[in-house]
Symmetry: D2
């Protein structure tokens, strides 16, 4: 069983299986070499830090449509508890329950499979209820610090946000790179801004979710050609949704995660970064976005920070 | 009601209430200026990244003794679910429940109160079950990137780990700084290594928990004098436990968090970093350790990374 | 500080504080004597059992409006796990997170306070984050089996469901008792049917939630006069909502739980029971509805069964 | 692949697949007819109610050995929250996370599979992460009220508790029935007391868990011959553990749940019931033990009550 055209042909062109060895679980993150990180650190000019995560809260971006993907539920289990008797120092503790893909997050490579396979040809059934992802779990990514590049597609086009039916194409990415005066290099983490996050920030999570602009199924080849390490954007769906080709659902997920082995970030808030980059006319920065090491997890909340 | 001597006198000397304004919720993190961050980025030499977080798993460091502080419980809510019909692209999703202070974490300023007060004199009862910490929640810290300095007390003393009854003193910190050839500066995040983490890594979480070496109640004055932004170490208790003065429980917590307004990190794995710093003979690096922005939370898991 | 009229006067008339001793935590459940239970068992005629609980599922009755009251989230933590090696007997395990008041549930006496007091005059602040309700927790109710009586107000009025602005009055209860040919006695658990549950069963949880028919603030005196042990109905709000008197919110909750010490049940599905009672022309039965003994909890899911 | 001897031969003798139709998901609970329930109600003599559930709390019976089976974690999400403004009626709400098999519980038929099959020959892979048990979920049991019979094996033998290596045999069950002066009939729910619960009640959950007396693999034939509807006992493991035959793990689970389709109850506290039955010299009673209807769940906490 295979996915509809043009998926198979693109898949063949971007496939990275075996590129970093048959046991590799990191995929394109291998492209973040020590040298890339040294150069990333050298991009820091002002020292300003811009956080890219949405607050983790019960009224987060999830609308309840995706089964099991629950917004964070926070509860106090101790409040000013004087553990050692009356009048002693008091502590407060909290507990949370959350869907790992619910908020600003990384998809681990194991988040998606197709035709029974994960990245590097591993069997999809290596993910089990007890233990989760034995292969490609987010815990395998021990650190994620690199050069970040903002491709501000919306600003390059002079709009606040792209319309809901806009598929971001390779040409759009080139245009945004040129607008930003930046050249995407091997090992970069590319942040693609559509402006769709404004819908959520304005209070309408349903409009944010769907329909959504997002990456075209033509973009994985662009990412592959540029040897990008990872890509994140400011939408719930990452890719254009509903999809471009009838019956071909989530093709970008399958191409990025399964074929290329490239992690995807979703629900990143790029609004402040957009303003900061425009003001400084610099679209490259040090990006720190290390996953929380949940063992066997197929995703993780992340609190990314751009250092300008 | 006040805490036993010598707490009140020390508290007076290290108190930062009002130093950054009466509305301040960041405390010593204010010391991380853009300039500090620029210089932190400039410390990067090799580009090597060393992760400092323990894996988030059900058999984490918690033994069950601290009420409500549960190790992470991970469950899959979808495994290779073909959301759009048979043969389509499949996704996997996870959910977790965890105590925010259970693993490698930051204590938010609101984590501790004494005598009815939080940092900056705010009332302790501003923490509520519904909403958590209205003041000093971990979500107020939007980013935490600075220069990190490893004070490897154990290695400076030529031991694998300090004994369980060793209170790390200001003199120990000076000794470790000298050993590392490093000068602690304003805005630094100081990592204090005791080697206690080895007990957990060797498989004995009970021995790891207690008794534990840790910071002496004399150290807050040292941190205050050096204008340190934050301190983390490789123990469950952070401070020496059982405490140095009978009946004076958790004095370091109260001095750091309440009086100084300085975040504390616990359960950080400094073993690999210790080796890396020793090999390079450099004990300063870029440290990225941004909290997950759980709204109203008094702590957060964190995945810190040192970039050497 | 006191609640608006006519609350204080009614409260005085229905107050049970001290009636069963100053340490009592059971309230009107004390009225369920062994004799009441013997007679309840004697009401069984056919042996038919009618379940009254809604299924516990992620798309339950909660709409997200009540903070923290989450529908059940179910996840598998083991699926056909061959714990003792390949080919051995396999087990499956699940974990859930749920709001204790989210589905078909009992309110414990500690669920509501007013003017700083719980039932029997206990201080409201005896409920703490660590430990929950020290007084009046649902775990104090060790068993709840008694005679159940259905007062089918909707059917007595010849309608499928009462309109959203219908406050069920003492006269309505008398009418329904007469319609059912039943006399409410001391120790009975009274089930009041409004038909509002049909809205949820038809798929509209928002219409189910609000506006909702429910009990009038005049009913607690009726329950008090009849020495009812507990009352449950088929609505989310239990009482008429929005309330009858402007600015007097949740008066029935406060009268029942705080003043009388009478547990309340909500979101009970009385549709099948309504049909069964009508067919048999008998409105009394054995009711078994023991709370799950969550220690310190202010509510609990319950799976009530009527035995006809 | 099949399980070791003597499993296959016993399985053949007790197998109930198809007995109640090929679509049946209730198994031996079909034996609880209206008539059985009428007779069960008629056993009530005194009206005394004896609860059989352990309190649901963080320091429950689970020791952490069984992966994912977590003791209940209770947290308050609202405490005396004045939802409608200062001085209004206040409410408290709670949330829990718990393993459904963690405390006093029922195993659903779907809890166990062997050789790829569930009860009635259904495929084991009908249990999925998203949705849980499509077949044999605990939600399919809408009510569970019947005659309960206590077989007090420990008391019949004149001991407080059976030793850890005692496998309860059919002869033991006969002896206890004779001791209790009771005849087990079709549709009965049989409670087998070993006294092992005393270990937990005395504070040693590890000793409670293992080694444990429990049912012999010879007992399923006894239950089958008596057409018992369900069986519960006062151990963590239900069956003797470690098992009687080397390499044959959990044979009783597989025989009861998969072959016979008979629900099992574990961690039931039978201590008070033991005393009550002995005093009254009556070992039959009305038992109410309806599962919480978690949709797709393979187990459920239950709060059983015996009415004497």
């Amino acid at each position: 069983m295979s996915l509809p055209d043009p998926f198979p042909a693109i898949a063949k062109r971007v496939n990275n299986w075996g590129r970093w060895g048959e046991d590799d679980e990191l995929g394109t993150l291998n492209l973040i070499t020590d040298e890339v990180v040294r150069e990333a650190a050298a991009t820091v000019r002002t020292g300003e830090r811009v956080p890219l995560a949405l607050p983790l809260r019960a009224d987060g971006v999830q609308t309840g449509v995706i089964p099991g993907r629950v917004n964070p539920l926070h509860a106090m289990v101790q409040i000013n508890q004087e553990l050692f008797g009356p009048g002693t120092v008091a502590t407060s503790d909290d507990v949370v329950t959350l869907g790992l893909q619910a908020a600003t997050h990384w998809d681990a490579l194991s988040h998606v499979s197709h035709s029974g396979r994960l990245y590097n040809g591993r069997p999809a059934d290596s993910i089990t209820p007890h233990g989760g992802a034995a292969f490609g779990g987010v815990d395998k990514v021990r650190h994620l610090v690199s050069r970040g590049v903002l491709l501000d597609v919306a600003r390059a086009k002079g709009v606040d946000r792209l319309p809901g039916d806009h598929a971001v194409t390779p040409e759009d990415l080139d245009e945004a790179a040129e607008f930003g005066g930046v050249t995407v290099r091997a090992g970069d983490v590319v942040l693609v801004r559509t402006g769709q996050m404004r819908r959520y920030l304005e209070g309408d999570r349903h409009a944010y979710a769907f329909p959504s602009p997002g990456l075209s199924l033509r973009t994985p080849e662009w990412f592959h050609a540029h040897d990008v390490a990872a890509v994140a954007n400011d939408t719930l769906t990452f890719e254009i949704f509903p999809p471009e080709v009838e019956g071909l659902w989530l093709p970008v997920h399958a191409l990025d995660l399964v074929e290329m082995g490239m992690p995807q970030g979703q629900n990143w808030n790029l609004e402040t970064l957009s303003t900061a980059c425009a003001q400084r006319r610099r679209y490259a920065f040090l990006l720190s976005a290390t996953p929380e090491p949940f063992v066997g997890a197929t995703g993780t909340p992340v609190a990314p920070v751009a250092v300008l």
